[in-house]
């Protein structure tokens, strides 16, 4: 029969391959791992994390195909990926939400291991490697957040590096090293990029290898009571199936998020704006605690608390040496876990609640969100490089018209760069409700747009001068 012939051929090839590679042994090692007490849904988190790491690596590599890690081009290149390249929105969305998912699943994995007491005896190093990996995942979030170089990225990282700078003794040196100077520049972006795509992935891949090796060596801990200890199931097929289902759910959720809540991208970073920075949700608990820590107390949430938390986690198996693994019989440990996770969630909601109930912040955050959406919905516009205009004019924007200098420059600055009394007009055309028609109407009647501080006398400017002013404003693009 043809089938048996084919089968023979396949088995022959498999033997041939096995003689040279030991593939049978490897497959057996991978699939026949004994699981004490049998397969469980509680054990899926590790595999899901490994899957998420693979997703981050794959999508990260392809994102770097079009991403340009310099302050001049980072934002437009991310915009290109998000808005113009076929499937770019999906790959960026997977990377964006995959990062968030990694934090969530890593915490779930840690909580499960903690609750099941699976960090105890013989598994100290396995656990320690896991805690280090959680730190590295947070490092990924911090460095990746800057890369799109939009408003949120720029100001979020500015706050983040300033926090690092407030640490006593080492702070200022540390901040300078992080920034690559005294301020956030394209050099900062290069450093974050290098850390994000070379250093951290190498570190994480190494720790994943160590973690898996130590895990296989220690064998799975099994359930926290000893009733089912006799029952042993292989990883394949039952646990492999449960892991695959969890991975599928995770993937479907990521794709749905990328589709229905596309990864955000706001206008390009404008260091002169008064952007209200808010951290991503998983840094929010520290952000909230920072509000209660004036002056030199800031070090408590920024350094001491995280250090104590991670130090305790790391050293946990060394001072918790009792054999008991049942979470109900370890009330202190269980209570601590509930307190830390519950407290963090509480702080996140408190931070959101306070922002919503502070009219000034709520208004500002709402406007920032509108600006983000307005930019996001605009079609992609390529950046002109080495253009004819810059050749003609030495790269500088066109000179302002006389009517601008006479009527607007006093408050908005000679080159629209802004003053303490009035904001910059550079890039104004990219903001919501600031189309050409809007700008003309604003000159006629600023009050109609809620701009109470602008003088009414502007309506007296001759129409052709108004046109000149607005046309010039439209040429001013944020760099």
């Amino acid at each position: 029969m043809a089938e048996s012939k084919l089968q023979k051929l396949y088995l022959g090839f498999y033997d041939w391959l096995d003689e040279r590679t030991g593939v049978k042994e490897i497959t057996r090692e991978a699939l026949d791992e004994p699981i004490r007490g049998g397969a469980r849904w509680a054990y899926v988190f590790g595999s899901v994390l490994l899957f998420l790491f693979a997703i981050q690596v794959v999508t990260g590599i392809v994102l770097s195909l079009y991403y340009a890690p310099t302050a001049d081009h980072a934002h437009v290149s991310v915009s290109y990926i998000q808005k113009a390249v076929t499937g770019g929105w999906l790959l960026r969305g997977l990377h964006h939400y995959g990062a968030t998912a990694m934090v969530i699943v890593a915490v779930a994995h840690l909580a499960q291991t903690f609750l099941f007491g699976a960090y105890k005896k013989k598994r100290e190093l396995l656990w320690g490697a896991g805690v280090l990996m959680l730190l590295i995942i947070l490092g990924f979030s911090f460095t990746g957040y800057l890369l799109p170089w939009d408003q949120a990225a720029y100001f979020g990282t500015k706050v983040g590096t300033s926090i690092a700078g407030e640490i006593p003794v080492v702070g200022s040196v540390q901040q300078r090293v992080m920034l690559g100077g005294s301020d956030m520049t394209t050099v900062t972006l290069s450093r974050f990029f290098t850390t994000h795509v070379f250093l951290l992935p190498l570190a994480l891949a190494g720790l994943v290898g160590l973690h898996l090796y130590l895990f296989r060596r220690a064998t799975p801990a099994g359930p926290f009571h000893n009733r089912d200890d006799k029952k042993i199931e292989r990883f394949y097929p039952k646990q492999a199936f449960k892991d695959s289902i969890a991975i599928l759910i995770c993937f479907v959720v990521l794709v749905a998020m990328a589709k229905y809540y596309p990864a955000e991208l706001g206008p390009v970073a404008d260091p002169t704006s008064d952007y209200l920075a808010r951290p991503p949700w998983y840094f929010m608990p520290l952000f909230q605690l920072l509000k209660y820590s004036p002056g030199k107390w800031a070090i408590v949430p920024t350094v001491i608390l995280p250090a104590v938390l991670f130090g305790t986690l790391f050293l946990l198996p060394f001072f918790d040496r009792r054999e008991e693994r049942n979470p109900l019989k370890r009330p202190l440990a269980t209570a601590l876990l509930v307190l830390v996770i519950g407290g963090s969630i509480g702080l996140i909601f408190l931070a959101k609640y306070q922002d919503r109930n502070n009219p000034e912040f709520a208004e500002k955050l709402k406007r920032q969100d509108e600006e983000m959406r307005a930019y996001f919905d605009k079609p992609f516009e390529p950046q002109v490089i080495g253009g004819a205009s810059s050749l003609a004019n030495g790269g500088k924007p066109a000179e302002p018209p006389k009517a601008y200098a006479e009527n607007c420059g006093v408050c908005h600055g000679d080159n629209a760069e802004g003053n303490p009394i009035a904001p910059t007009l550079i890039g104004v055309a990219g903001k919501p409700q600031r189309s050409k028609e809007d700008l003309l109407k604003i000159i006629d009647n600023p009050k109609a747009y809620g701009l109470k501080d602008m003088p009414d006398t502007l309506s007296k400017i001759p129409p052709e001068d108004k046109q000149k002013i607005v046309e010039w404003l439209l040429t001013l693009k944020a760099q």
Partner: protein, 175 residues
């Protein structure tokens, strides 16, 4: 046989199972979605670039000396990825009375820059030579110099820059 049992003494489980097939399908499905997306993402932009150029003004026709080989630089714009990259390209103009020829400064052989020596066009890379008409005189070039479209409006010479495929005996636009 030792290979049929592992160190726990339990028999090696049956590899074929319904759950195993489902797991395999899930892995294959996710890989396919990612693979197809990444393939299209990586390849499609390479085919959506455009280098359609606009008419460029090279100045008054009268300024080009009779019978001389004159080099002019034009700015060309290439849409590629996130940028509109503008850069300069050289073209050669030969005027004989009302008759004008505009040559691309790119060698049709392998894309080096064409220059002049005495009354000839030469490419230093591989020694191709052309006369003022753009016809091949010597060297490995597969065809004469590529001519560019031009028109004269109000006494001004305007050209449309284009790139052509190299290494072919006939001139084909690179789009």
């Amino acid at each position: 046989m030792a290979t049929e049992h592992d160190h726990d003494g339990a028999p090696a489980p049956e590899r074929r199972s319904f759950l195993g097939v489902i797991s395999g399908l899930i892995v294959a499905g996710i890989s396919t979605v990612l693979g197809v997306t990444i393939g299209r993402y990586s390849i499609s932009p390479a085919f959506s670039t455009s280098n359609e150029q606009e008419w460029t003004d090279l100045g008054s026709l009268g300024e080009f000396a009779e019978g001389k080989l004159v080099k002019k630089n034009v700015i060309v714009s290439q849409d590629a990825g996130w940028g509109k990259f503008q850069s300069q390209r050289s073209v050669w103009i030969v005027r004989n009375g009302e008759s004008v020829k505009v040559f691309s400064g790119v060698c049709p052989h392998l894309g080096c820059s064409v220059n002049t020596r005495a009354d000839k066009f030469v490419c230093a890379c591989h020694g191709s030579e052309w006369n003022v008409e753009g016809s091949t005189v010597a060297g490995p070039t597969p065809r004469g110099l590529d001519t560019l479209e031009f028109r004269v409006e109000d006494g001004k010479l305007k050209i449309k820059y284009q790139d052509f495929k190299q290494g072919l005996t006939s001139k084909e636009v690179l789009s």
